[in-house]
């Protein structure tokens, strides 16, 4: 099937040396059950799927490892450093993730404030520098600040991931201007991570020209995660296609669509 995106000749979505077919990336946290998670991921069409690194529950009272449910041959597993508050912790988690995992990619998070989960930018830059030296492909979750994004690119990050709004908030894209500016100024891919709540948020975000979106709660906390995953897939494709198509200019006054000539007396 020819998609609209193919009709407008999209460029490949490449991070580091790897090319991906879907611009929608999804998380695996907070689903009601593993079955709805697996079906939602399938419906999203996502290829990149994020996971977290945690202690094995030795009493077996909590969830089993995610790999019981997700086929690592089918999905590209992107481990995160979620929950880390210092560069040192994030580096430790990244190393463990690489050992557990299947690739050299890490979604780097260094949280600076517990209420907003906004990033600690100096910590991010420090951790990114170290991890890049160790051969990681670092995708850094950051705020929508251009200078922070530039510093992360300078540190060697493979992609920069500004937020749409705080993690898990579902408030949508609060600052399209900043996200657009970051996309315009960076050479590495810009993937919006966090804050998307519904399909229109995803579409609007992609219309800013960013390379992709990562979301988790928007699917996991939807009434019907599978249906929302389908909606998000369409929204990301629609937003991307609209960006490539180039929107009409905005006007402050109306312009008739029908001819003024030929009206009856």
């Amino acid at each position: 099937m020819t998609t609209a995106v193919e009709l407008v000749r999209d460029t490949p979505f490449t991070i580091g040396a790897r090319t991906f077919h879907s611009r929608l990336m999804v998380g695996t946290g907070k689903y009601r059950d593993n079955d709805s998670m697996v079906r939602a991921i399938e419906a999203s069409g996502a290829e990149i799927v994020t996971v977290a690194v945690r202690r094995v529950d030795l009493d077996r009272t909590q969830q089993a490892g995610i790999l019981h449910h997700l086929d690592p041959k089918k999905y590209f597993l992107l481990a995160n450093t979620a929950g880390c508050h210092t560069a040192e912790d994030a580096i430790r988690y990244a190393r463990l993730a690489r050992e557990a995992g299947f690739n050299e990619f890490i979604k780097l998070e260094v949280i600076g404030d517990q209420e907003t989960l906004l990033p600690d930018v100096p910590g991010l830059v420090d951790a990114a520098r170290t991890l890049v030296k160790e051969g990681f492909q670092v995708l850094a979750y950051t705020n929508e600040d251009l200078v922070a994004a530039l510093r992360l690119e300078d540190a060697g990050c493979a992609a920069v991931m500004p937020l749409a709004s705080p993690i898990g908030s579902g408030l949508g894209l609060l600052n399209p201007y900043s996200v657009r500016t970051i996309k315009r100024r960076l050479k590495v891919p810009v993937i919006v991570d966090a804050g998307v709540g519904t399909a229109s948020d995803a579409c609007l975000t992609m219309e800013q020209g960013v390379d992709g979106i990562l979301m988790n709660t928007a699917l996991a906390a939807a009434q019907d995660p599978v249906a929302m995953a389908h909606a998000m897939r369409l929204a990301v494709e629609a937003g991307r296609a609209a960006f490539l198509a180039g929107r009409m200019p905005r006007r402050e006054v109306a312009l008739p669509s029908s001819p003024l000539e030929g009206m009856l007396d």
Binding site: T28, K30, Y31, V51, V53, R54, I66, G101
Partner: protein
């Protein structure tokens, strides 16, 4: 009776049989060594070396894996 030693395993104090290797420890917990990563006193021990490292009294050992996350 096997002699026991105290270690810290995933943040909790635990008595385990003395003389165990890391591989033996993982197996004694009914875990698949291919499905966990072992950190021994803050250093990652790669899977092929798990059978070579013996657990000593006071060791801090972390066993981690992937769980759902965003």
């Amino acid at each position: 009776m096997t002699e026991k030693i105290d270690i810290t395993l995933n943040g909790e104090r635990r008595a385990v049989a003395s003389g165990l290797t890391l591989l033996g420890l993982v197996r004694s917990l009914d875990l698949d060594p291919r499905a966990v990563v072992v950190e021994h006193n803050r250093a990652i021990v790669r899977r092929p070396a798990l059978g070579d490292v013996r657990v000593a009294p006071g060791d801090a050992i972390e066993l981690v894996h992937f769980v759902g996350g965003g």
